[in-house]
């Protein structure tokens, strides 16, 4: 994973992506208990909004001899899924990313509050479960989460989750 993270950092340095942040299961694992996941999800902001935001990434990757595997790119043998920031919430999550350290390598990761907001917006059962775990792990700044949810019209979703939370 270390090598893959370095390649992603390099892509940002080279301007192939403008900014990025790890999301999904690996971001969740950073904050809460480890979860079963198979891809390193990378939310990214492309340097230019265009028709095919993934094309420069795949061009760079193929130039390095990396191949694709299902929806992911195998970077240094590691499945990485690049996801263009698809709305204002995800764009803000990338722009406001935190830094994590894996061994000697630093990488950008979505903050816990944005991870919770994105999960609330996505709204699948596993996403609601993730929000509950993030809240339980005490890694959420409630004021920041409230601001994010208010901005992106998601306040009601947290209230609904907490109101109906019977799970342990």
């Amino acid at each position: 994973m270390e090598k893959a993270l370095r390649v992603i950092e390099e892509m940002a340095r080279l301007g192939i992506i403008k900014a990025y942040a790890i999301g999904g299961g690996i971001a969740a694992t950073y904050y809460i208990e480890p979860v079963l996941t198979y891809d390193l999800d990378i939310f990214f902001i492309p340097p230019r909004e265009g028709l095919d935001e993934l094309a420069p990434i795949y061009e760079f990757a193929r130039g390095r001899g990396y191949v694709d595997q299902a929806e992911a790119l195998l970077i240094e043998g590691f499945p990485v899924q690049f996801i263009p920031a698809y709305n204002d919430l995800v764009r803000e999550a990338v722009a406001e990313a935190a830094t994590l350290k894996y061994r000697d390598t630093e990488a950008k990761v979505v903050k816990a509050e944005f991870l919770a907001a994105i999960a609330l917006q996505t709204g699948r059962a596993k996403d609601r479960e993730r929000v509950a775990r993030l809240l339980e792990a005490d890694v959420i700044d409630r004021a920041l989460l409230a601001r994010i949810l208010e901005t992106h019209g998601l306040k009601g979703r947290l209230e609904k989750l907490e109101g109906g939370a019977g799970e342990k």
């Binding site: 994973m1 270390e2 090598k3 299961g25 690996i26 694992t29 950073y30 904050y31 809460i32 208990e33 480890p34 979860v35 079963l36 996941t37 198979y38 595997q69 299902a70 992911a72 043998g77 590691f78 499945p79 994590l100 350290k101 894996y102 061994r103 000697d104 775990r133 339980e136 792990a137 005490d138 890694v139 342990k168």
Partner: protein, 61 residues
Amino acid sequence: MKSKSADTVFERKRERRRLLAKLPFEKKIEIVVELQRAAAGIRKEAGRKPWVLERPERTVR
């Protein structure tokens, strides 16, 4: 209806999750790989292979 024993079990589960959440990120990634290996015996889907983690790099002094 509340059950004191159930509450105790749930509290222990929460405590276990809190402890796991506090592990170093490197250790958590090792656990993710263990979960993938455990799942590999049940779900044999393409693209669902357990990761192979690099060995930590050592600085030669």
